[in-house]
Symmetry: D2
Subunit: 358 residues, 4 copies
């Protein structure tokens, strides 16, 4: 029996997408008779029927390649709870393409938004398998998503380079790490880069406490301070606002978490403080060795699931094991840093400040 | 109560040793009153009383530094089962130094050999805490040791660079990865580097099967083949020998696994095959972001154990959690790649050969 | 005869400073009897007498270290032409420190500002030797300054990573490279990173021409465009303004060259265009192999000049030779990209646009 | 007038080949009407008529790619002086292919061997342009060849990593750098990596002098020594032999310069000394930023020469300028490190030993 497999990548691009695609393809070709259809630019291609029949050779030589050979686009439905006409049309369009292509299953690589849509399609009766990618590591049910470790390498390298300037000039450097809702990337790269202060969305900070760290270090003849701040970090006041209000405020002022922290420290302590926003470089380029392994494992496991006809699931890492969760159990559940996360405790035990009151 | 902590690093050097030392020190200074004694060159320093009182500032700025600021040496006792006079003397000498230094506990960073001695000292009544480092990842009871991920990055980079030459010249390249007993590093970097064949000590290979891969690729117009071979990989014939005999043979012929495989493929298939032995570069240099995180977590957890007066244990990673095992449960137990390891299955499912009969 | 050598590093930090310091020190210790005095934080330390007697061991192990072990600060005199009382006082203070320290010569590592002050001190009778460092490569009389190649490596790596996202999402990405007056870094890293458009201060651009490139690429099914823009790039209108006016405008609007270009392309072509500002990471971290060689050569040549009692000069690279120029000939002369620079011609010949009319 | 351009890459592969190919192609397509023919595996493809018509899109996305998209093989004529029948046949075959393909010119990318053949073909009346690539930097008439800087980066990274182990274990580490005849790569990476001893083919060494360095460092409490040795380095005795005899000796004993030096130091000084042979990784992988710039410049200049109908030349770097030399002036002239090379003097002035008598 020949199986026809559709593959798409959706959401922001992320290192390891091609490695995962290659894993799905190589293992499928190896284990059973199959044809693979590439769907362009995520769900857009599925809606519009923009696809191509792939050949085996197209999956060769892409292990180390950044980005995605299939193209990507952001999730088509911003709000899953409100079922609109337009929405229904899109779902129908996707089902129609799936049917027209005579697909036996659909493999979707993406983050939280992608998984919501994947679950929706699964509920509509399509055979869907998800693969969790995102540099934010904020997907429920998996220890790590692919892309996260590469982003950690890049963000850590940024902190390393900034360290040099901070120490030579005796400055406060505030480095803004990607992560609007989840602080994982800031937490891990902050620890890896030897940050003195780590500010994440899950733990609202007081700028006075950050200022104290700067002053204490100055008293101990450490003339510089490294602060890793997540894009979505907020102070106590902001944290009290309603989400909509906060987001509206931020949009109106072109808010930057790092610029804000740097400005406040200049005003409050009178130090030279600079913001650095590495931005998109955190999600681009060739995947790290670890992410190539994880992406490959995820991709091959997806092929094993196709072989075994297990659908409506997403692949996951638990401990050292590759496994899978039901889409309906994890779709729409973000994974934030718990306040009692062991990594947070460890960071505090070694004197890293989260900008909380002592 | 002031606690006096001795620290030593033993066995081959490995990325993350200084990051782990820093973790122990920073968290100890932060959490309780303490003094830290650095013991030079592993157990040699403990035997001979070659030590120094450390200052807090000495643990600053070493997070990214390769090697170990304390120096290291190989394990003092090659054979733990044979209790010799000399051996007893050494144990007594170590106990004496511990007593003379008025230590409250001893933190030992090392691999299997180091842990055997740590357990011995623990049984003799010293307060010992182990930290598992080794690029081989062959310590029982922990998902990963620190140093492994950095070595994987380096070995993968080596394979990447060799890939280029292999493809341009249409050659078979045989890359020898560190690992005498355990194939973890070869397995992970082989998958990360896109190797076509992976040969590890745990799975004896048949050169005929490796030759088949080379020939099959040639037929499919892939003019090159990448083979990742562990130092300790052996063919079926060697695997049948007694260990002593095999080792004697290898020593006598300056045996190199990669040179052997390359030579046999030249003879058998008539291809151009080259061996590459990156050697010591796999264990040197600055730790990767992941290894800095893991080393720091291990180090801080050791300090937490000192605070809580839990001794006779070694720190471990299980899933996403940092925890600890009893020294007596893990000392002397190597962790090899199980034949049914999921990673092996995954590699096979995507068509990677381990040189076994189909 | 023992020689007392003062060393200071001034201006923005830059990879290779420590390698150059080590070169001066190692060669001096090797070639003649000497004592070295480290002057803290550039000219500030010389003005205030903030210095330390160095030991030989302090110059060991710093070859690969980013930043400067001596600290740095910005040039003390912003405007060399206006001799103020304050200025005179500072020069007198520096001469006094030089005399008090009984220095035989002063080695100053820095960029254009540093060299102006070095020349001033030389004219006042001090024995001064300059070493040209800056990531901007804008010092007259030398083919390259140290720091430039490392910054090129970093900026190119940034473009590589952004390339991935640009291609996967089909976006215009505008990457802002350091360089307020000189476009060398943008020119070299733009070519190395495969940019489609390069905008530098020396060649005012028309946004219409940039838009044409984006549109032409879209017509040729290249859905993305990479634009490398120097911080100081300006369009034709800005270029006509007086410098003061332009700078005032930019300061008032928190001007960012990349944000401006991205905004205009969004408005004009209707594409998705994003700005990336890697910022300070371009000047931090360990020097590249080339910069270590160049820094070492410069440092050793400075020691050779001290040995030969040649002062009032700055070290330079011409072709493959290390040589030196008179301070008075190069101080205050910036090196900009000539309009007929061969590298510009080469870039144009391969179709890279500088935003000029065809 | 449409021009038909043949391109081939010959000799060992080397970072920057694809960047140079892209430079030739992009600039040719941009500047004049042209067709490009890719010749497979160097001169072999020209002899056998193994070629392909290229499309413009095939030159896209290859700037950062290691190796060569055209494949390569070693030079067809080992001995240029002896004109054999076979040789004549090969030349005739190449001329015939050139004619059959209706080529207007041939661009050959390679090292010394490639340039000899290029010159031969030029003398036979073909329109030939050479591009100097080699990691050895041993081509006469150009300051640098492309590939050299990337190899320097890799070799320096190797020394950095080995440094760590050397320092932690207190060992002598002997690192073997590529270069059979020319010591450029060992010289530059040795200085960049902070080697204590540099041994190159051009300066025969005395092992006693190397031993003295190890002993002197031990006396000064530097427990380790880093020795960078070129593959082709030889001691005084070997240097006196005839070349043939020396090569026969080496082949018979599987000679390795690093193993030999390490063995002799173990015997002579009684230290722990280890050899490291990074081998092929020095020539693989993505080109560095500098090499991408140089390769691109070389490639574009070749296209400019085609435009201007200047043939029988090879592209070169002199100082900061891209220029060209006549093939007949440079073919067969190797560029070795002169004994009075400034870089050698600089290295000696800072105390680096070349194993010569003081």
């Amino acid at each position: 029996m020949k199986r026809r497999i559709g593959i798409l990548t959706s959401g922001g691009d992320c290192p390891g997408l091609n490695a995962a695609i290659r894993g799905v393809a190589r293992a499928s070709y190896e284990m059973f008779d199959c044809e693979i259809v590439g769907i362009h630019d995520g769900y857009r291609g599925l809606i519009e029927g923009d696809t191509q029949e792939m050949e085996r050779s197209q999956f060769s030589g892409i292990l180390t390649l950044g980005g995605t050979i299939l193209g990507t686009s952001r999730t088509p439905f911003r709000n899953m709870r409100k079922i609109e006409d337009d929405h229904v049309d899109k779902v129908e369009a996707m089902k129609k393409t799936y049917k027209n292509l005579k697909l036996d299953c659909l493999v979707t690589l993406g983050g939280n938004g992608t998984h919501k849509t994947a679950n929706l399609l699964s509920e509509e009766g399509l055979n869907v398998i998800g693969l969790p990618k995102t540099i934010d590591n904020d997907l429920y049910g998996t220890d790590f998503t692919f892309g996260f470790h590469t982003a950690m390498d890049i963000a850590t390298d940024v902190i390393d380079r900034i360290h040099t300037t901070a120490a030579s000039h005796g400055r406060v450097m505030v480095i803004e790490i990607m992560g609007n809702k989840a602080g994982w990337l800031t937490l891990y790269s902050g620890v890896a880069g030897g940050a003195d202060v780590i500010l994440i969305p899950e733990i609202p900070y007081r700028i006075e406490e950050v200022a104290k760290v700067v002053e204490r270090r100055a008293r101990n003849n450490k003339g510089f301070t490294i602060i890793a701040v997540a894009e979505g970090a907020m102070n106590k006041e902001e944290a009290k606002m309603k989400k909509k209000e906060r987001e509206a405020n931020r949009a109106a002022t072109h808010y930057s978490a790092s610029a804000d922290v740097a400005q406040q420290l200049r005003d409050m302590v009178g130090v030279e403080a600079r913001a650095v926003v590495p931005g998109h470089i955190q999600r681009g380029g060739s995947p790290s060795a670890y992410d190539r392994v994880l992406s490959t494992q995820f991709g091959v496991h997806a092929a094993e699931l196709i072989r075994d006809e297990i659908f409506g699931v997403t692949v996951a890492l638990k401990g050292n094991q590759i496994t899978h969760n039901k889409l309906k159990d994890i779709a729409g559940v973000p994974k934030l840093v718990p306040l009692d996360d062991q990594m947070v405790t460890i960071a505090k035990d070694m004197g890293i400040s989260f900008g909380e009151k002592d």
